[in-house]
């Protein structure tokens, strides 16, 4: 355990140093690879670090702290996560190696809009359908398309970006740090050898939990960064002859944010462990973490804007980037209300 916590501390401090200088900007793929982040969960013998979702989660939180852009979430978290769920083979292993090297990125056609996730159907030979607002699909070299075959067997079709009949249309969002794209396929034949099966005992749906928890980690990072920035600002900003943080109206607001972040951290920590361990409770834990932490982050970033006053509302201040990211995170893969409904229906 202590080994892990040392490793995590080191990851955290490297990430903070690298990302601290790039707040609100996209981290280039080469840098992500050079740092070993894209290959974090890729097996050692495929050129990766062979680490677990626990380490990925540390990075997700740090990327949220820096509202960093780049393809990490879509490719290194979801893409690698999905590929690791598949049986080894030339295509899969090659992609993992290329991702670890920084030579390629992939995207998973998982709809981020829970109320309208879209669907790509597979009739045993051809793929057809549409999935809207897919993370990091625009620049991906290959798309990983989870499908259900005619025999109801789950599998993943791998489509090269330049496949005829595959259309990827970038969709601009207010949060400039995220890249989303609509993906549509019109009667696309799955190339030979490009329909990959899941490993024995793997639950195909568990990729959804990974997505929820990764976003929850990001939101936790967003919230933590906003509380830190707010505490710094209200300690320094003078009005009425004293730091505004000395007023109870301000300090109690900060205290409330700290409490929400502490609760988020508990729920997110439990969900990270459950997902990393493949625990049967992972789905519930993921829902709880995403529902709470993503909502809390909006509240924290919003209060941060309020307590920064007019300065916080300017473009130059980074608060708006955090508020936009927090608000988008809240919507990705299901809003808190949608997730809570799922929790209720599972009872």
């Amino acid at each position: 355990m202590s080994d892990f916590s040392e490793l995590h501390d080191e990851l955290r401090s490297v990430a903070a140093e690298v990302l601290g200088a790039r707040i609100g900007t996209a981290v280039p793929g080469e840098l992500l690879a050079e740092l070993g982040w894209t290959g974090m969960e890729v097996d050692d013998d495929l050129g990766g670090a062979g680490a677990s979702f626990r380490e990925t989660a540390v990075l997700c939180e740090q990327l949220g702290r820096a509202v960093a852009g780049g393809s990490f979430l879509g490719s290194a978290v979801l893409g690698v996560g999905l590929l690791n769920m598949l049986r080894p083979g030339e295509l899969r292993d090659g992609l993992l190696t290329r991702i670890a090297e920084g030579a390629a990125t992939v995207a998973v056609t998982a709809g981020t809009e829970a109320s309208d996730p879209g669907r790509i159907a597979f009739d045993g030979a051809l793929l057809s359908g549409r999935v809207g607002l897919v993370l990091d699909a625009g620049a991906a070299e290959a798309l990983l398309v989870p499908v259900l075959g005619p025999d109801d067997r789950a599998a993943v079709a791998v489509l090269a970006r330049d496949t005829a009949g595959l259309n990827v249309t970038a969709r601009q969002v207010l949060d400039e740090t995220r890249c989303l794209a609509d993906v549509s396929v019109d009667a696309v034949r799955v190339p030979d050898g490009a329909l990959l099966s899941y490993r024995e005992g793997v639950e195909a749906a568990s990729i959804g939990d990974r997505a929820l928890v990764a976003v929850a980690c990001d939101s936790l990072g967003v919230a933590a960064a906003m509380l830190d920035a707010t505490v710094d600002y209200v300690s320094m900003r003078q009005q009425f002859g004293r730091p505004i943080g000395s007023f109870q109206a301000v300090k109690h607001a900060c205290a409330d944010l700290a409490v929400q972040i502490a609760v988020s951290r508990q729920l997110v920590g439990a969900a990270v462990a459950a997902v990393a361990d493949g625990d049967p409770s992972a789905h519930r834990a993921a829902i709880m973490a995403k529902a709470y932490a993503s909502e809390a982050a909006v509240a924290v970033a919003g209060k941060a804007m309020q307590l920064h006053g007019g300065i916080g509302y300017t473009w130059e201040a980074d608060v708006h980037r955090y508020l936009k990211r927090a608000t988008l995170n809240r919507a990705l893969f299901g809003t808190p209300a949608q997730l809570r409904r799922e929790l209720t229906s599972e009872r």
Partner: protein, 387 residues
Amino acid sequence: MTDPQAFREQVRAWCAEHVPTDWRATQADTSETEFAAFQQDWFATLHAAGYAVPHWPAEWGGGMSMADQVVLYSELAAHDAPRLVLAFVGIHHAASTLLVAGTDEQRRRHLPAILDGEIWVQGFSEPEAGSDLASLRTTARRDGDEFVVNGQKLWASGGAHADWCLLLARTDPDAPKRRGISYFLMDMRSPGVTVRPIRNALGDSHFCEVFLNDVRIPEANLIGAENAGWQVAQATLGAERGMTMLELAERLGNAGLRWLAAACPPGDAVAADRLAGFEIEIAGLRGLCADLVERSHAGTAGAADASIVKLYYSELLQRMTDFGAELGGVAAHTVLTKPQSSGWESGSWVLDFIGSWEWTIPGGASEIQRTIIAERGLGLPREPGVA
């Protein structure tokens, strides 16, 4: 006194004829110049009907009864009319300041000009004087029958288009901070005035910084007595809050609620419950605004009444737009523009939500409003150490 129902019919007929039906489309993603031109046109259209400054005294072109004004604003909102954004400070704040504290000459100079489209901006806040406005540092030094002004103002909304500025500056640096401030009418075309837009959280630039470098203001443009500016500002700030808030409440209750209802998934009991909750809150807000209008008119408004309305409206707006942003899901984030000339209930939810901080921060942030309600409204002891 008109028959209220007859007046309502009259306004409805006017709206049907004059409210541009396509303004939301044409005002999305428009340039600052086009926006200003549209605002000037809309102002002239309203003014021709007698609807631009109904709250002014009859002798200056207003004179509408309170009851009719309530009808007017509710119908304009019901017909989804554009907002008067550029003229706002002029017809409300500048006008009430002139009417309460101006000389006859100042009124004659400016009130008709405002009706002809003179744009005003407020020059109150400074980098070091936000919530603590009385600590402002901009100085106005008397030089014969002129004042020489130096300093920097912040958050001047519409500053790039403004002709005139309501300016607070320190005329007696040795007096206690609220007793050494004077209130001026400043021509924005005076030498030494530099306006620089501030890019806001949404990437727009309607807020400006105004730099004042040896700007000369004639003594005749002093409003109220020298060193009595703080008292003038107190007397005129919020004088119009009742009716302006009523207009905003109507907009929230019309377009705002309508867009939200449209975004609620059918059969979603949780969303329906929240929507019903907002409907109730809007009814409460409308009541608060109407009450404030009446009590302001009768001179019986309590010291915290305007603060209650401002706090409640701004936070309700924030909660409603937050709900809209959540209901809109990921797709709401692909809506990158909001029509100009709308309020923050445009249905571009994420933008509306972020824009809602334009209500909870300026004009006395929510924290300040709560302090006013607690201290001036409830009579609680003042916070220690605050002058």
